[in-house]
């Protein structure tokens, strides 16, 4: 087996490999940096940042499901100013590549303001705009479930940054291709999908919803086929590079996701189960790629589509 080239290019950013820990499963890298050299990763997406500090939801926030889990963390984070002042300096110490800054918001102004601040951070390579907050009660419509709102957020963010903007989509919609097209029209540089699927559990001891928030986001291997199908649909709908997320837990899953249309991938729930999973996947990607007959992993992107 010759050397397999794992590098990919994401909206002008060259990544050593397509493996990126997903937002909310990696913190700001501190804890994982104690387990392995996180510089082996292509990049990582930090915990979703909002304008104000957020405690998030009450307990319980976590439930198990078959081949998956529900989370209703509720975007707990210290707020964009604290992230920039307190977390990013430490990131620079432990990680020497550009990071993906995941950004949330509850109004166009907030998205603009958060992204404007993050735009000034040198180490941020990509802004990943989370327009799906199914477990946050903000009143009003979910940005990610309406094509016009999705396009508006995209435009608002593009006004304040020159960094690549990837819109992270919610799967809890009727037509994900339509949402992706709206983001493309709004000027997005890429699409990241999927966020979690809306789900819930009932506690048989109390006969009440298990999560304090009632609903939570489903992640883990159970959602992989859904994520894969949506990546396929978005690949057909837009010409933008895609970061594919949802239930990936092996190098083979990475390859499936790339074949469906992903340029790079994010791995979330799997990190919680096996903290070393991203390292293992990076190490096993070469032999998996070789078995598929490619010498450059990026050749897989979209190759399952006709033509």
């Amino acid at each position: 087996m010759g050397i397999i080239d794992l590098s990919v290019k994401l909206a002008g950013l060259k990544l050593d490999n397509p493996v990126i820990p997903a937002s909310g499963t990696f913190g700001y890298g501190r804890e994982f940096a104690e387990l392995y050299d996180i510089n082996i990763l292509g990049s990582f997406s930090c915990k979703g940042t909002t304008g104000d500090t957020r405690f998030g939801n009450e307990q319980p926030r976590i439930a198990e499901t078959a081949a998956g889990m529900l989370n209703a963390v509720g975007l707990q984070n210290p707020g964009v100013d604290a992230v920039i002042e307190e977390e990013f300096p430490n990131v620079a110490n432990i990680f020497q590549k550009p990071i993906i800054a995941n950004v949330g918001g509850f109004s166009l102004d907030e998205y603009r303001e958060n992204c404007r601040k993050l735009d000034a951070c040198e180490q941020v390579g990509i802004l990943e705009v989370n327009i799906s907050c199914p477990n946050v009660h903000a009143g009003g419509k979910n940005f990610g479930s309406d094509p016009e709102l999705a396009a508006e957020v995209t435009r608002a963010v593009k006004e304040v940054t020159t960094k690549p903007v990837f819109m992270k989509l919610t799967p809890n919609v009727t037509d994900i291709g339509e949402i992706a097209r709206a983001c493309e029209d709004g000027g997005a540089d890429g699409i990241c999908l999927i966020n979690t699927l809306l789900g819930m559990r009932i506690d048989l001891k109390t006969k009440r919803p298990l999560l304090a928030n009632r609903t939570g986001g489903l992640s883990g291997p159970a959602i992989f086929p859904v994520a894969l199908r949506m990546v396929w649909d978005v690949y057909e709908a837009v010409k933008l590079p895609i970061i594919g997320v949802g239930g990936i837990s092996s190098a083979k899953d990475v390859c499936e996701m790339m074949l469906a249309g992903a340029t790079a991938v994010e791995i979330g729930a799997a990190n919680l189960k096996d903290p070393y999973i991203c390292k293992t996947i990076i190490e096993t990607l070469p032999e998996t790629a070789a078995a598929l007959g490619v010498t450059e992993l990026r050749q897989l992107t979209g190759a399952a589509h006709n033509g």
Binding site: E31, Q59, R61, Q76, L272, D274
Partner: protein, 247 residues
């Protein structure tokens, strides 16, 4: 923290829903009583966080309550089963802080981490006062073991079938009024009642929570404290009396 493989050496049923398990393997990541391990189970997405009751160089002791599907399977595992474990998790008890008159209080399976705590206090030349509460005689376990360590042991059962009748909090209030510092572990209502006892000027409270990762990255186990949000898995499971917030 490390990830390691532990081997099940021995299982003993203690009560209808509590099991003693001894596992062998690398315990080097464990630095204090009150820490826990997060055990991967076949076919389960989430690991199960279980208190370390005691540990030595070659292995560790668990006292496990059979609570749901995961623990049912875990406790029924045959001897020799190997488990993928994240070890040495959490902050553990601080043995330096407790002044001259501490008491170790536990309820039900909450007594588990108190065993290793008592052992280490004895190794430091102290004689721990231990107060344990159970529903009834048939729910009580590990009493001989605590006594054999050399603790001053008091037992309370709610139905009076063993020891003093009533709650362990009432027993401590009535029979151990000189105790002014508490190390405790048990169900939330018990911890809340212990915090309400006026005799304690300080204490270390071990909390449980549903967890995602168990090592601090997912924010699944965050609780309110007077010092801001804390992760039970990483900033805990031990929280100090002065920071506790109750709804």
């Amino acid at each position: 923290m490390n990830e390691t493989i532990l081997t099940l050496e021995h299982t003993r049923q203690l009560t209808p829903d509590t099991v003693e398990m001894v596992l062998s393997g690398d315990t080097s990541a464990i630095t204090a009583p009150g820490q826990f391990i997060n055990v991967a189970l076949p076919g389960k997405q989430l690991r199960r966080p279980i208190s370390i009751a005691n540990w030595s160089e070659d292995g560790l002791l668990l006292l496990v309550r059979i609570a749901g599907e995961g623990t049912v399977a875990f406790c029924a595992s045959p001897k020799g089963t190997q488990f993928d474990v994240l070890s040495g998790l959490g902050n553990g008890f601080d043995l330096d802080d407790h002044g001259k008159k501490p008491v170790l209080m536990g309820g039900g399976v909450g007594i588990a981490p108190l065993y290793g705590l008592a052992k280490r206090m004895i190794e430091r030349g102290e004689t721990p006062t231990v107060a344990l509460g159970f529903r009834s005689l048939q729910d009580a376990f590990y009493l001989e073991e605590f006594a054999a360590l050399g603790c001053n042991l008091s037992i309370a059962t709610e139905d009076g079938s063993l020891g003093i009748k009533g709650f362990v909090t009432d027993m401590v209030r009535d029979h151990l009024p000189d105790r002014d510092y508490v190390y405790c572990c048990g169900p939330l209502p018990l911890l809340r009642a212990i915090d309400a006892l006026p005799q304690f000027t300080g204490g270390q409270f071990s909390f449980e929570a549903r967890m995602g990762c168990g090592f601090g990255v997912c924010m699944g186990c965050t609780v309110h404290t007077k010092h801001g949000p804390k992760r039970i898995c990483k900033d805990g499971p031990i929280l100090r009396k002065e920071e506790l917030v109750w709804e």
